[in-house]
Subunit: 239 residues, 2 copies
C-alpha cells in the first residue's frame, strides 16, 4: 500500500446501479476534491447518517472523517489543513498563509450564508435519495432547527433560490477577472463553493444557475477538473 493511500468515511446513499453509493454530502465533496488536488489515492467508506458507531473511532459523530495511517482527522476544513501541512510538496490547497486565512472566511461565508439560504428548501428532495431511517433522521434534524416541516420549507424554494443567486453576486464579480474563485487554477475555496452546487446536482433536477451565468461556466469547469471527478457522480434527473 503506497504511503499516500488514505481512507475517507463519508455519507453514502443507496446505490443507483446496485454498486456505487450516492455521494451527496456537501462536506465530503470538499474533502474529495482536496484529496484529488493533492493527488492522493483514497478509499471511500460510506457511512449512514444514523450510524454513529461506524465513526466512533474518531471520538465524535460527524463525517467526513479521514484516516491517514495512524492519524484520524474530522471536520472538512481541518482535514484540508491537515493535508496542506502533511503534504506541503504536493499542489497547495490554500496558496500560502493569506490564502489559508481567506479560505477560512470563504468557508464560513458559504456555510452561514449560502447553505443557510438554499439547503432547507431542497432538503425534501435530498430525502428521496436516502433509506427510510436516514431520511427520518435528516428530517428530524432539519425540522428541529427550522421549526418547519420539509414540505413547508420546499414551498419557499423559489424565494430561497432568488436569494441564493443574489448572494452569489460577489463571486460572479470575481469570476469576471479570473476563471476560478482562487485565481487561474482551482484551490480549496473553489472546492468549498463547488460542494454546494454538486450537492444540489445530486439531490435535485432544479438548476441553481441560469444559462450564461458565469457561475454555470465555472461549475462546468469544476465538474471537469481532477479528471472529471465531480462529473462522474450521476446527477439527479428530472422525474
Amino acid at each position: 500500500m503506497p504511503e499516500s493511500y488514505v481512507i475517507l468515511y463519508e455519507l453514502g446513499g443507496p446505490p443507483l446501479d446496485g454498486r456505487t453509493p450516492r455521494r451527496y454530502s456537501v462536506f465530503s465533496w470538499r474533502t474529495r476534491l482536496a484529496l484529488a488536488h493533492k493527488g492522493l489515492q483514497v478509499e471511500s467508506r460510506p457511512v449512514k447518517i444514523s450510524d454513529k458507531a461506524a465513526i466512533a473511532f474518531s471520538g465524535q459523530g460527524k463525517v467526513p472523517v479521514l484516516r491517514d495511517g495512524e492519524t484520524v482527522v474530522y471536520d472538512s476544513f481541518r482535514i484540508a489543513e491537515y493535508l496542506e501541512q502533511t503534504y506541503p510538496a504536493l499542489p497547495s490547497l490554500f496558496g500560502g498563509e493569506t490564502g489559508h486565512a481567506l479560505a477560512r472566511f470563504v468557508n464560513s461565508w458559504v456555510d452561514r450564508q449560502l447553505v443557510g439560504t438554499l439547503f432547507p428548501s431542497l432538503m425534501l428532495e435530498n430525502e428521496h435519495l436516502l433509506e427510510a431511517d436516514d431520511a427520518a433522521h435528516l428530517r428530524g434534524q432539519v425540522e428541529g432547527v427550522t421549526g418547519k416541516s420539509l414540505e413547508e420549507l420546499a414551498a419557499g424554494r423559489n424565494d430561497a433560490l432568488a436569494s441564493f443567486r443574489r448572494q452569489l453576486d460577489p463571486v460572479r464579480s470575481a469570476l469576471r477577472t479570473h476563471p476560478f474563485l482562487s485565481g487561474s487554477t482551482p484551490r480549496y475555496p473553489d472546492h468549498i463553493l463547488f460542494s454546494i452546487f454538486q450537492w444540489a446536482r445530486v439531490v435535485t433536477p432544479t438548476r441553481l444557475t441560469a444559462d450564461g451565468d458565469l457561475l454555470a461556466t465555472w461549475f462546468d469547469h469544476m465538474l471537469d477538473a481532477y479528471d472529471g471527478l465531480g462529473r462522474r457522480e450521476p446527477p439527479r434527473e428530472a422525474a
Copy 2:
C-alpha cells in the same frame, strides 16, 4: 523628492480644526492603508464630490486617484494592484496569487453586501460633514439610487444595523482563529473591511459593534496599525 513619493486625490470634507480636511471616503481609506502598508510617502489632495475638474486629468470622474510620477491610476482595487505590481519588494498587499484573487471576492462582498446594507441608513449623517453643494450632490445620488429620502433611509437604521451585524458573522468566525482577516498580519482584505468601519467612525457616533465583539477588537487593532494612521482621524462625537 524621493521616488516613493505619490499623490493621492481623495474626497475631503471641511476641516474640523481649520486646517486638516476630514477623510470620510470609504474607498480612499482603502488606498491610504495600502500606501502605508507599502511604506510609501503620500501627499493628499482633497477633492470635493462635486468638483470633477480637479481629477479630469485621470480621464474619469471618481476618486481616489493615485499619481505616481507619470502614472495615473483610479479605482481603489486597481490602485492596490498597481502598488503590488510596481513595488513587489515592499510588504505584500495580497500575499500571493490566491490571496489576490480572494481579495477581489472580499472587495466585491464588502461593496455589494455590507456597503449596500449599511450606507444608505447613515448617509444623512455623512451629509452633516459636507459643505452645502457637496451635501446636495450626495443627497441627489443616494436618493436617485434608492428612491427614498435620506430621512426615510435613516429611519430604517436599526434594521440596517442588525442586518449588517449578521452579515459579518463569517468574518467573526474567521477572527476566532487569527487576529486579522488576512491571517497573522493585516493585508489588503483587512484594509477593505476597515474602510467601512472607519467611514462610520468619522460620520456617525453610532457604534457598529457591541462590546466584546471580535470585530470591535479587530477594528481597534486596525486603528493602531501603521503607526495609528486610522486613529489619527478624529471620530464623530455624539452631539
